[in-house]
Symmetry: C2
Subunit: 490 residues, 2 copies
């Protein structure tokens, strides 16, 4: 059926949807979530049908098209296209199969991943998939296939110099800031470290946000390869690359219910590591109150699954279970975290010793895995000689050094309301306050802690300073602080 394109001024955020008038849909016997092909000359795209039941958006003879499809097949507003009904994706039957508790084979998972990557599944269909993986879980075969398919439906980067080392920390705020210290230690020892990091979603800052205070992190795959070949390492934002792209789309439907399917977590992390051709991998699982995993046996199970999966995809792995009860370092927010990192790298006395210690332990584990003796001593030597700092600045320069580190100029001091002991720092409250103050987009926003859990405080004594680049945002953040009980003294 020939229809006239009507451009709709809204994005769907990826999913390919076209809106049809009720009468036209009837003539093709189409219902919502059926599929049609939109054909323009030799180009076509299969899209999901949404039906305008009221006819107030799309008139008979028109087809409403969102930005996402519009750009994809280069449509012009008001032009006539051909449309034909087509079958729903095969993956819908496979999702149903998984929902019914059956094991999927590699071909079926390949089809599902392809359809996810190419925006062929609606939110409802994708939610059923995530839900099925969560309630029915996947066995190790399925996890291996899922990992491989997520990897192959994206770019794969290769590097000349082996071994290729990577590291990853599973959730929790704590420990994220070790990466910019560990990576240059490893690179200074001559290893290839193509590190991709994420931006924060709910926490005050992600490793990519923190790195962005002093260098460019939104880097293409081609540039990333050039940088790593030149200086041996990088720390870039994974989101600007096309590595295992199914992952982001799956995370989008996991978020509303905070679903965290273990099979999905394993496949997603390992796919990203396979995408950079890592040969050796260190996984840090922080456990304890406030971390993602609170019980030690959960952490041990996950450790074993990682080890099995790594074996099946031929990657060397070491999994550390670390204490996840306490944040590491004093700065929270991009620039404040980077200041801590630079102090440690420059061997400045103000560098938090817990941050230094954990970074050295991580580097040591990797050296061990690589067969180096006295890994901790080696890591310490590289850090204290200034070679790690030198390598870090090489990485920063190669990615495109940005600007000086600026801490927010608007300040507010959080003081103790009474004398006693600081017994709790609430992660959620701290995230909320620093995010309203502007973190992580406003690099100078954040919180600097003078006191940690267990410290004694006197009434009126400073516990922390809240920073912002903007007076209004600071005002909103202080209001939020006053309504939350983030710093508990007893």
């Amino acid at each position: 059926m020939k229809l006239r394109i009507k451009k709709l001024g809204i994005r769907t955020g990826g999913i390919l949807i076209a809106v049809m008038n009720k009468e036209d849909a009837k003539l093709m016997d189409l219902r919502g979530l059926d599929r049609i092909k939109i054909i323009k000359g030799k180009i076509f795209e299969t899209v999901i049908v949404d039906i305008d039941e009221h006819g107030d958006v799309v008139k008979k003879g028109e087809i409403g098209v969102f930005h996402d499809i519009f750009d994809k097949i280069n449509l012009k507003n008001h032009e006539i296209v051909e449309t034909i009904p087509t079958r729903r994706p095969f993956s819908i039957a496979f999702i149903k199969k998984k929902l019914d508790g059956c094991k999927l084979n590699q071909k079926e998972l390949a089809q599902i991943v392809w359809d996810i990557v190419h925006n062929k599944l609606d939110d409802i269909e994708l939610t059923y998939f995530v839900s099925s993986c969560y309630t029915r879980s996947m066995d190790m075969d399925e996890i291996v296939w899922m990992t491989k398919e997520m990897t192959s439906h994206g770019d794969i980067l290769t590097f000349k110099k082996k071994p290729i080392v990577d590291l990853h920390c599973i959730g929790g705020v704590a420990g994220n800031r070790t990466t910019p210290i560990v990576v240059p230690i490893l690179a200074a020892a001559g290893y290839t470290v193509p590190k991709t990091a994420s931006r924060s979603i709910t926490s005050p800052s992600g490793t990519a946000d923190t790195m962005e205070t002093i260098t460019n992190v939104a880097i293409s795959a081609k540039e990333m390869k050039k940088i790593v070949e030149k200086v041996g390492a990088c720390i870039v934002w994974g989101g600007a690359l096309n590595l295992a792209p199914a992952d982001d789309k799956i995370i989008k439907v996991e978020k509303p219910l905070m679903i965290d399917a273990e099979s999905q977590l394993l496949a997603s992390i390992m796919a990203k590591k396979l995408s950079v051709s890592a040969t050796h991998l260190l996984i840090d699982i922080p456990a304890g109150n406030g971390a993602k995993l609170t019980r030690i046996n959960e952490a041990t199970n996950l450790k074993e699954e990682f080890e099995e999966l790594a074996k099946r995809v031929h990657m060397k792995i070491k999994v550390m279970i670390t204490d996840g009860e306490e944040p590491i370092g004093n700065g929270i927010g991009p620039a404040l975290e980077m200041r801590d990192i630079l102090w440690v790298l420059k061997n400045d006395k103000r560098g938090p010793s817990d941050l230094k210690e954990k970074s050295l332990n991580m580097a040591a584990e990797i050296f061990d895995m690589l067969g180096k003796k006295d890994g901790k001593q080696l890591a310490k030597k590289i850090l204290e000689s200034g070679k790690a700092y030198e390598k870090f600045m090489e990485i920063v320069e190669a990615q495109g050094r940005r600007h000086e580190l600026n801490i927010g100029t608007f300040e507010y001091n959080v003081v103790a309301a009474k004398t006693g002991k600081l017994i709790h720092l609430d992660n959620r409250a701290i995230s909320k306050i620093t995010r309203i103050a502007g973190s992580p987009e406003d690099k100078g926003a954040g919180l600097y802690l003078y006191k940690h859990v267990g410290d004694n405080v006197k009434k009126g004594e400073k516990i922390a300073t809240l920073y912002s680049d903007n007076e209004t945002k600071l005002k909103f953040a202080v209001e939020a602080h006053k309504s939350l009980d983030g710093f508990v003294v007893q």
Copy 2:
């Protein structure tokens, strides 16, 4: 935060969503699917936040509002409203609980049903609920609570004259057309029968569509009550009433994967029967190839569940398992089905005997349940004396008699391509053809069968006639017929 209303010219189909600019969302630390209250004077409404990442729809300081909310709190375009962040619905935690395999209590189910009815859950969240009921299933306690909550979050109709009789057929095309024959037989015997029926979604016609050929079916609860009090019965469209309204919203997310959670099916049917205060209920479960349930033990299980549920909600029930392999009657499509019905009611020889027989059996089962002796004889007497026809016309008049029965004027004969036996009539193909021909909206569209499965046919002999009210639609339908193999002769 004060924001300016921007009316968006699209409907969401119910879900209450408002679109915010990225920067404003940041200032309130809001992410997609978070909730805010929109406050106008003393009225407020909690809505789901969608974030415009590109800023091309909603500018800073604006809030984009769809029709659904706009009308609900009587907003004016460009007016300023107050907005404050609020917690996500508690039901999200309960859905997660069910997804984790735990049993829900009545309060938790009540909250979920309330949020569904009031459009407080996004498609993704609702899909997780449906998925959890499907994969984790519900026990009889949960089904009873769900039934009661679905009933109480909707209108409940009461009638003076008891017993109140109702009947329901589970899916499959076959047998649906018995309702307009059984209802007047029961009403003629003096029973109250407040029958609600559905419109077709994928089949050529639903009972409501068929009734609509000669009478009004979109009737309010108030009118329905008046009609039933006057003539003892009605056959109206359930969709125009507010009975167990959660059901339609749940069905919407079941459709894409054709999920048919048994617990949901039970709760949905029984809630609608409780909503009309039924005291006696007949359930017809057609089983066999082509029906919803293909195996007899599935049908038996469902029968037992219905019996248990009815007992728990204090309703008398009788469940028949019938042969669902073959359609009943010759006409397919609203007017053609109504013609069969009227022939049976008028004791015209052209009335299909299978339709008459099944209707009498159903009426007999209900008479038995009500303690009447020789139910079948009684039903036959009422039908053959013309009293059922008389009562049927009373119902038709009371609902608002519409127009004469018109069969489509454009015809196409389906003839046998070769001599042999008709071995298969494909339900899906027949639905597609009749729907493209205009069914069920165009009342005259449909198919009339001269031959049934097992009949011998000669090359060129008529198997069926395809009817349409519109030449173009007939053309499209004939094209579809030629591409499908709906009538198999061997």
